[in-house]
Amino acid sequence: MAEPSKGLLRAQEIYQDRSRRALELQKQGKKVVGYLCIYPVLEMMTALDIVPYRIFGDMREPITKADSYIPAVNCPFLRSCLDLGLKEKYSFLDGIVTTHICDVGSSLSGIWNYTVRTPFSFHIDTPHTLHETSLEQERGLLEDYQKALEDLTGQKMTKERLQEAVRVHNEQRALVRELYELKKQDPPLISGVETIRVIKAIQSIPVDEGNKLLREVIDEVKERNDGPQKKSARLLVWGSILDDTALPEMIEGLDANVVMDDTCVGSRAYFGDVELTNDPLDGLSHHYLVDIKCPRTFRTRDYTDVRKDYMTDLAVRFSYLRDYVRDWKADGVIMESVRYCDTHGYDVPGVRDYLDSVGIPSIYLEHDYTEGALAPLRTRVQGFLEIIE
């Protein structure tokens, strides 16, 4: 029998055939629950031995069925997810968990329930602010979520099981950060394209298997001599969903390496651990509401402060980007977003203002989540590279 593949090759295989492992595990009696975005508190699924399986779209597949249920003026990524759901690509799921990521993400939960009809569904109405009340509310919502998952599995989510899940997910976060450390070198030891494959792979399999995969990838990448070539520019990519390698492929096909990212199929879910609190729901609610930095949350210096100052506000919201740029020695930032993503769209001038204020060049690219849409952007990226050189 052939040896099972490992490391980067295995990540690529999972990337190309995401559901295979989930289906195997389902045959063994495990429940597989799909989730949208990075907010559905995966630790709580893991604690009950549920396989969390992230729902992605497919920018290479034309949307043919979803338009009848959701107007084209909405996030094409979510439309693509629904399209795949309607084409029964997610029919194996035992459940789906959505959160209030954005307007359409929220609406999609109702539309999915009506059309795709996955047997179990739960929607977490994640608050938008960091108010103390919001934190209490998030915690209360997680209690309801816990009940719903317990009903689904017929098992009790004990404190010990949940603490263990937090530990193993924190381990995953640490491993991803370790992997990203390897991107600090010049040239980076792993490319932007490979990074997306790895992240997408670990979001398709149970967390312990993901950790094993990450260890293999890290070991392999450290030793490799076939990594990315040195290029003139090192770039950071900020923005909305990037669940396909096409965009980094286009960028890395030019004279640039994507060395760091702030996107939700990238670093966003992994930079920062969940605090191991006595009651794990405290640490989890804090992490998912406060620690994850995504434009869907209204973040401000001190929400009780009656004074306001734009530059301080920007620094509070975006200074982590400056740190990324400094630590990963990026020469510029590509801001990207799918069309009709409002949460990211409103932040574009602010992110640019902030980057300008700290002397980091940036460019904004908007696309409609199709492969074809990326070709014309190539010229713009090329022009940007000429500026930053």
């Binding site: 959701i70 109702g110 929607h123 109405d125 009340t133 509310q137 434009p295 009780t304 769209g345 574009v348």
Partner: protein, 457 residues
């Protein structure tokens, strides 16, 4: 030979004009307050903050309404262009982009109101009150105004759970307590900002008054079930802004305005007068936000005998009497008066039997195809216009699904019209009219289908 001019197709309500004028007063009041050094807040429309702000003596103006005013007066485009020049993507909410352009223009004028601003303009705010309710624009837009003003932003959080999740044990009480605490935190913030204490008695007036206005609006809508429909949606839209934006500031005046409107509509019902000056050939519902820049389109449709007897946006909630005697905390009274248990609303709206079916469907499927269709049945609607907006996700995302449900459950056809609240270029009136003409046959067909199925209209 002289030919008598045909009367306009829409039969406007006289009582509407006084209400519409109240909105202009809001802007005049804002400018006056600012000139007198009093605080002015820019506020996103949501269920809670307006009454609190007015009880605290803050003058409130509403950029989303102001943007629609700019669109209606044809002056929005330069503001949209400015927003684009500032780097905001063009798919963002048209109201937001108008306001962003307006704010950028104010900065250019050192904080002065742009001379081209209609209705006297909106003065510079001391506070921005955003909202986590309804759409992302409601807080992202105000957050992004930091580029133009150093006014603090407070985002009011309110629960927006899924249907099944609302039914979970303890969820309702948790949401009530969340709201009470959240609004108290907002009051504490206002007290700090304004250096004065909350006037809780005033909140009973500003908050309670809105309920009274809604009661009249509800009664008017009940009258609109008559055949022919006595009030066209055009008048509803013209008047509703007074209730939404001015109701908490001057509840008595606005209540009287709607009371007068009730009398006028009642008189029309008694006399069999319609909201259009043509025979009512089709009764319609308008789903989504209005095309503020092209309201003349309704005149053309009215000319074809289309009467929009009801609409989805801004429908008043059913009035209820709640025993508040056991609650002494004024904020708790304020919240409990309005935040309702889903089960209770469904039982009152649909009657006990249908409500149970709906509740079972929600518990089982997380959704019910019957929800949101009640008005179609009650108003015996022949067809529905679904206004899919280029720049508003929250009111557009569910419209295609609604199209399926209307047909599946009620055999009522609908027509999608694409456009925008602000951007006139997104709407093609000639094409929309052509599609509307063709839609008449579809409405005729489904009338027959409903008849064959023994449905009441």
């Amino acid at each position: 030979m002289t030919t008598e001019a045909k009367p306009r197709a829409l039969n406007r309500l006289q009582s509407m004009y006084a209400l519409r004028a109240e909105v202009d007063k809001m802007y005049e009041g804002g400018v006056e307050a600012s000139e007198e050094g009093k605080p002015v807040a820019w506020v996103m429309l949501e269920g809670w903050s307006n009454a609190i702000l007015n009880a605290m003596g803050v003058s409130t103006v509403f950029p989303e309404n102001y943007s629609s005013l700019c669109a209606a007066q044809g002056v929005a485009t330069p503001f949209l262009d400015r927003s684009e020049a500032e780097g905001y993507p063009t798919h963002l909410c048209g109201y937001a982009r108008t306001c962003i352009g307006y704010s950028s223009r104010m900065v250019e004028l050192d904080g002065e109101i742009p001379p081209e601003a209609p209705a006297g303009g909106m003065p510079k705010p001391v506070l921005l009150v955003a909202s986590g309710e309804v759409c992302d624009a409601r807080f992202k837009w105000f957050q992004s105004l930091g580029r133009f003003f150093d006014a603090p932003v407070w985002t009011i959080e309110s629960p927006y759970p899924g249907l099944r999740e609302r039914l979970m044990e303890g969820a309702h009480e948790r949401n009530v307590n969340f709201l009470i605490k959240e609004l108290k935190a907002f009051v504490a913030f206002l007290e700090k900002l304004l250096g004065k204490k909350m006037d809780w008695e005033a909140l009973e007036y500003t908050g309670g008054g809105t309920n009274e206005i809604n009661r009249w609006r509800w009664e008017i809508n009940e009258l609109r079930k008559a055949h022919p429909g006595p009030m066209n949606t055009r008048d509803f839209w013209s008047a509703v802004t007074a209730a939404l934006f001015r109701g908490a500031a001057d509840p008595d005046v606005i209540t009287k305005g709607f009371e007068r409107m009730y009398d006028e509509v009642k008189e029309r019902v008694d006399k069999g007068i319609a909201g259009i000056n043509r025979p009512e050939r089709y009764r319609l519902s308008f789903e989504g936000l209005p095309p503020w820049h092209s309201l003349g389109f309704l005149e053309q449709l009215a000319d074809r005998g289309w009467n929009f007897v009801i609409e989805s946006a801004y429908r008043p909630p059913r009035p209820i009497t709640i025993d508040l005697s056991k609650y002494s905390d004024p904020m708790e009274r304020y919240v409990r008066r309005r935040y309702r248990r889903l089960e209770d609303s469904l039982r009152e709206d649909y009657g006990p039997e249908e409500a149970e079916i709906i509740l079972d469907e929600i518990r089982r499927d997380g959704t019910s195809p019957r929800m949101g269709l009640r008005h179609i049945k009650d108003y015996q609607v022949d067809g529905v216009i679904l206004h899919v907006l280029l720049t508003c996700r929250s009111t557009s995302a569910g419209l295609n699904l609604l199209q399926h449900r209307l047909l599946d459950v009620l055999k009522v056809p609908s027509l999608v019209i694409e456009g925008d609240i602000i951007d006139v270029s997104a709407f093609n009136p000639a094409e929309a009219l052509r599609n509307a003409e063709a839609f008449e046959e579809t409405m005729d067909h489904y009338r027959k289908v409903r008849k064959e199925l023994g449905m009441p209209w």
